[in-house]
Symmetry: C2
DNA sequence: TATATTTGCGTAACCAGTTACGTATATGTT
DNA sequence: AACATATACGTAACTGGTTACGCAAATATA
């Protein structure tokens, strides 16, 4: 079973990217299941943000991690249900809900920290033969921020 | 709006990968919509395979592109409905359905070819400052084929 | 040759993202 | 002060992947 996507070169790029990121996502979920850890992928992003800022609104979180706000709504809803996050109405703005980590989350943090650190170690090892990968990923993100993909293709089509 | 994921370094790796691949997927769908082209992302993979091999079973396709077979079932179902692909029962094996490109697909191929070529041009340009990206992506895929991610983390946790 | 195992592939339910839409509250403008 | 616009955020429907399950046909085995 040789990998047809590789033979497609750049044409296989997007699909390979998705395949890899899906793989990492499902594996991580699987890992947490197997270890009986009651968190899910991406929760670390929210927890890291709330460690840094104490309290944030949902929109601030969405902004900082560049997810759509409904995506964050879903993540927060689960984190709340599992008692990792609580909300506090903003005193000066009735639309806003301030999000905070719960004591339960803080208590579990050392355990999570250790697991995340292990994942970092594994990823670092995985990237050992790919020393430019993260930097170059940054370049790609940067370029797309300058001009979006669809517009690039449309412009190119006019040539 | 600075990008928090970047500050997380390796810890943000998986999420950045997903964010980018999702972005490319949605943009591409959007692009096809806007151009009123009746195909969808990933169809090029199937079409390329069927160009190369004339006829293949669903499982063969799934194998070659490394997708789960239900994923391919869904793609094929749509391609069939839009008349891009037809099926032919295998004479010697009653379980198998041979898949072939239709004349309609062949007729539309030059137009698709031009569009895909434009996308390749744009992606190539996008990767101009990231000359090692594709190679290093290959390294990562290779490593994960040697030992899967979950196992790596579990092993590392025992240390 | 009967039976157990494997294979092809269809369906269902789940998951994590998206866009589109609605509503309540703030904010800006005349 | 009244009204138009913008913002926060919740919900619904869609998408493209996944795993789990089932069944019929083929293949291997006793």
């Amino acid at each position: 079973m040789d990998d047809f996507l590789l033979t497609l070169n750049i044409e296989g790029f997007t699909s390979r990217l998705k395949r890899l990121s899906d793989y990492l996502l499902y594996s991580t979920r699987d890992l947490y299941d197997e270890l009986d850890i009651a968190i899910e992928p991406n929760w670390n992003l929210v927890i890291r943000l709330l460690q840094k800022n104490q309290q944030m609104t949902l929109m601030e979180i969405a902004d900082q991690i560049n997810f759509s706000h409904p995506a964050v709504v879903k993540i927060i809803k689960k984190m709340k249900k599992r008692g990792f996050v609580k909300t506090q109405p903003d005193q000066t703005d009735g639309r806003k809900q301030l999000l905070l980590l719960t004591p339960k989350a803080l208590k579990q943090l050392p355990q999570l920290e250790q697991l995340w650190q292990t994942q970092i170690t594994v990823l670092t090892h995985l990237l050992k033969d790919s020393p430019n990968f993260l930097t170059e990923l940054g370049h790609i993100e940067e370029q797309l921020k300058q001009q979006d993909y669809k517009q690039r293709v449309l412009t190119q089509l006019e040539q």
